[in-house]
Amino acid sequence: MGYIHIQKFEIRQAVLKQLGLPYHNIDQYVIGKGFSYIMGKKPTIVNNDGIKPIFPKDLKGSGCANKVEVAYSFGHELRGLSPSSRRAVETGKCKVVGEISNAGYQWRFLAAMMGLPFIPTRVMLGTDTFNKSSAKVIKDPFSGKPICLLPACYPDVAVIHVPRCDKYGNAQIDGITVEDFELSRAARRLIITTEKIIEIKTIREEPYKTIIPYYLVDAVIEAPFGSHPCQMPYLYFFDEEHIAEWLSLSKTDEGVAQYLEKYVYGVDEFKDYLELIGGSKKLAQLKRIEKLEEPMSAPWIKKLMENKK
């Protein structure tokens, strides 16, 4: 195994039973304890970037990544830093093999999507972030000034969760695409998880809505609420209570083990997981929060504020 990129809104339970899925062979829905499969595989490098998800970001803190290239991989934004990821790096269990910026990552995927060895950029110049990166500096032959070149990044596997796609993998996305467009085209293997499967006819009626066309896709997995505990724009919000439980438990290795036992090894199917995290009542609440019908409830915010004082 090489490079795994796991994208925002991805399904945490699913996936990766069979990485060598043949082209078009996408009727095999794989929902299961994917997280543990990933762990079993021990990918050597996890390429996880900035704004992204709660758990995959903490892969290294869960013991299933021993090398990482990082842009924003130790923080959970307003929620604070990731105890398990920091611990993994500070204790030497996981090695940071490269630094990069968010734009830098994005554009490494752009280079790959475009079939280019590199993309130039003005970011990273003059910093230690550059010194610890895979980028190079050349003299721009047009202006004579220094310019940074970001090498293409082709993740071996990427997993992207979308609101809807057809069974061939033609996917529409509402809201921001972050780096989905470029990443889906850069990845060697692409797994799409989706809130629902729609007819190809619907895709063809508005072809300009397709962000990810089928020929990029190796597998499609139908997984309603598959982004939990993260958000699915226009559908449901972050489950801040569950995220808080993880952030609290993951302060110790024992807590991490306890979390994995309860939510990963302890459940057979994704629907059991959804029951465990609060079932239909919780899911309905997350929908209401996303639609601004109810304020967010987030225990970590109060804790954060107390810690600051």
Binding site: S73, E90, S101, V137, Q231
Partner: protein, 265 residues
């Protein structure tokens, strides 16, 4: 909050340090300009500016939200609140390209350490190979610090944070000062514009690019500024006093963040 400062009378402050930071940051922004915002204080500052002196401020989020009408405080830069009723819900490639092409006037940064040239560390404390503390890393910080025309840094100030040399140079300020930023290939005329701390507001000398005091927050002395810095800060003759939050501003802040998610109670 009650404080005794410099032997002066105890003064009943009607605002918190965080509210002060938010208001100063807000007042630094201009109308009809664009700003690259993250979550937290920058978001609060930008929302406050839009509701006071800068209604036509254009917000960019790195994940692709552009020009939203923020309904409630987003908790993530990819949060759907960052593109709620936006004029465009685009991509990181688009936002970052706009920044790189010079479309974005202001950018916000936080910092664990800063040096006199405005260089910032958010990566590690201690040696890189065996860090004492692993911090978030660059994330979008290097991008914002490189590409936005004027960067505003909001951070806590003390001797461990205002340092002679940062442990890791995550995000470029003026590098070694003078014209070293441009010489390295960073965009002409860009760079740190203001540093806002709990004690004052700082800018940078036009030529040497060394940090200089712009204004002292109320009840803060120049001595306190010096005591809380590991490097020499240029102190000009005329240092103004930072305008404290107005009652209106405080009222709007409460509306923006009623739960005190960022502003606190």
């Amino acid at each position: 909050m009650d404080k005794k400062i410099n032997g002066k009378q105890k003064i009943k402050e009607e605002y918190s340090s965080t509210e002060m930071l938010a208001c100063v940051a807000s007042n630094t922004l201009e109308d009809r300009k664009s700003v690259f915002v993250g979550t937290g204080l920058p978001m609060i500052a930008a929302m406050l500016a839009k509701r006071t002196h800068a209604p036509n401020l254009l917000l960019f989020f790195e994940a692709g939200g552009i020009g939203p009408e923020i309904p409630v405080l987003p908790i993530s830069v990819g949060d759907s609140r960052t593109f709620y009723m936006a004029i465009a819900a685009s991509s990181m490639h688009d936002s970052m390209s706009m920044a790189q092409a010079g479309y974005i006037d202001y950018g916000f940064l936080g910092a664990a350490q800063i040096d006199k040239y405005g260089n910032i560390n958010t990566t590690v404390i201690g040696p890189y190979e065996h860090p004492k503390t692993r911090l978030p890393g660059s994330g979008g910080a290097n991008d914002v610090g490189t590409l936005c025309n004027k960067t505003i840094i909001i951070m806590r100030q003390d001797k461990n944070r205002f340092v002679e040399k940062v442990d890791f140079l995550t995000t470029p300020g003026y590098l070694d000062g003078y014209n070293s930023r441009e010489k390295k290939g960073l965009p002409d005329g860009s760079g740190p514009y203001r540093v806002i701390t709990q004690l004052g507001v700082f800018g940078f000398d036009e030529k040497s690019k060394k940090m200089k005091l712009v204004s002292l927050h109320p009840n803060v002395t120049i001595e306190m500024i010096k005591e809380n810095s590991g490097f020499d800060i240029i102190i000009p003759k005329d240092v103004s006093i930072t305008k404290p939050p107005s009652k209106d501003e405080l009222k709007i802040l409460k509306k923006i963040d009623p739960a005190g998610m960022v502003i606190g109670k």
